[in-house]
Amino acid sequence: MNDQQAVARLQRGDIKGLDALMVRYQVKALRTAYLITQDATLAEDVVQDAFVNVYRSIDSFDDQRPFTPWFMRIVVNGAIRTARKGQQLLPLDEDLDLDYLIDPAPGPDDGVESAEVEAAIWAALGALPAERRAVIVLKYYLEMNESEIADQLKIPVGTVKSRLHTAKRQLRTMLQET
């Protein structure tokens, strides 16, 4: 059953259409929501709500259009809204204890250092406003181009470029500062 058939089936009233869509998209949606919210439990809530949303609003969906962008927009927007609620933004010059990133060359404690680097990247991503983090996730995790991101988030391409540029600069600063 492809997406169009699953959607048609759900529109006809067959819950198995929803099941097919969940089987196909739940992991991708959960991972995307997780990277934006940085919380697996919140990501589950976001994706559950997204599928319930699909179930409730499938009648308004034009089955001639692709399902993926419509659904992923629900997920991404839900994740941004959720992330915004709990976010305490850190200013760029906040002390993030990133001293160890100055010299990233592998050394005897490479394993430990690698974990620390990952923790630092995660923290730096977490310090971004949710909208900018979402753009990073769409670009580098979902591998969308700027035009696709603009379409996904319903914002101008210029805004995407600006958010990406600012987010990357902010990340770079946080990971290299001090």
Binding site: M1, N2, Q5, L10, Q11, R12, G13, D14, I15, K16, L18, D19, A20, M22, V23, Q26, V27, L30, R31, T32, Y34, L35, A40, A43, E44, V47, Q48, D49, F51, V52, Y55, R56, S57, I58, D59, S60, E118, I121, W122, I136, V137, Y140, Y141, E143, L171, R172, L175
Partner: protein
């Protein structure tokens, strides 16, 4: 950190936290099942109610003696006639034109290790010239909030309209195979979502439906445990090997937990609609012939198209049949697409 490293980091982090096998479908179904926000009138997104799992339509003119109903239940339910619990609860739903009255009644219910079955009826009146057609969507949960999913090939309904008066009868069976602790009773909540169409509205949009409202019933049903026989036996035909792990023999239905060597032949567009005509011989005597057995998920979970392990539900009673059993699956046919998986798979084991 360059862009490639960032990409790799995000991928690894996401995979680590959200494993491939993560499955939230049950929670989504619970959320949907818990939704009781449908308005009594107005066009709603109720096309899905049309599913109704109405897999067997009974002629409105046919009259059967069983339970004074127009519907004759499947052989498994007929076999447990003396064990069904009469519920006889009725609720009235407030309606607007063209409906003038609507009552929903749960007639009886039955539960065992393999299924819960409910029979219900909707009666009422509507403007005779409105051409009203009724639909129902039964949802079942227990007191723990555990949802029960529809069993394949289990839905039956019949409607009858005489002037302004209409009657709708339905029987639905739900998978109970997640119940392994043999409770003495089940405390259940049955929600019957009622929807309808009118001739005028069907002319505009053949799929849209109008919500008639929900009727919610709480009742208790005695639980009838089944017998589990571990089989762990494989049979092959063509490229497909099937292992029967166990057989659960409950009073109203016999369930085979099976694992397929390859689910690909079954992962077609109409993947929920496969059936196998199953025969059962006990001590050399044929006790069941061409029983339409359908796939369902293991342990009460919804079936997925590519699941190699799944259950096969045979809607017949085989309790008390002891001795040497031979269960034969005579190929598979998809009742929606007509596709076939040919072959014969036989399994021989003892039931004491």
């Amino acid at each position: 950190m360059n862009e490639k490293q960032l990409q790799q980091f995000l991928r690894e982090r996401a995979q680590k936290e959200i494993p491939n096998q993560m499955d939230i479908r049950q929670k989504v179904y619970e959320q949907i099942g818990a939704t009781k926000t449908r308005k009594p009138t107005g066009r709603l997104g109720l096309r899905r109610v049309a599913a109704l799992v109405v897999l067997v339509m009974v002629s409105a003119t046919a009259v059967y003696a069983w339970q004074q109903s127009r519907i004759q239940p499947d052989p498994g339910i007929q076999a447990v006639q003396s064990q069904v619990a009469q519920i006889d609860q009725t609720q009235s739903i407030a309606v607007e034109e063209p409906l003038t009255s609507l009552n929903v009644t749960v007639d009886y219910a039955y539960a065992d290790s393999n299924r819960v079955t409910v029979a219900y009826e909707m009666t009422g009146t509507a403007a005779a010239d409105a051409g009203v057609q009724f639909f129902s969507n039964p949802l079942l949960t227990d007191s723990d909030g555990q949802p029960y999913y529809w069993l394949p090939t289990s839905g039956q309904w019949a409607t009858d309209v005489q002037g302004e008066t209409f009657t709708y009868e339905g029987i639905m069976s739900f998978d109970a195979s997640m119940l392994t602790n043999n409770p003495s009773v089940l405390n259940l909540t049955l929600t019957i979502q009622v929807a309808y169409t009118t001739a005028e509205q069907r002319a505009e949009d053949q799929y849209a439906m109008l919500a008639g409202g929900d009727a919610i019933f709480n009742f208790t049903v005695p639980f009838n445990p089944g017998q589990t026989v571990e089989v762990a036996q494989s049979a092959s035909a063509g490229d497909l090997s099937i292992e029967v792990q166990r057989v659960v023999i409950a009073p109203s239905l016999t369930r085979l937990d099976v694992c397929l060597s390859d689910a690909t032949p079954f992962a077609v567009d109409a993947w929920p609609d496969w059936e196998s005509p199953v025969s059962v011989d006990v001590n050399g005597q044929r006790v069941a012939t061409d029983q339409r057995a359908g796939f369902t998920g293991l342990h009460g979970e919804p079936l997925t198209p590519d699941a190699t392990c799944r259950s096969l539900a045979i809607p017949t009673s085989l309790v008390g049949q002891t001795g040497s059993w031979v269960i034969t699956l005579n190929g598979f046919q998809n009742r929606e697409s007509g596709q076939r998986v040919d072959g014969t798979w036989s399994f021989t084991f003892d039931v004491n």
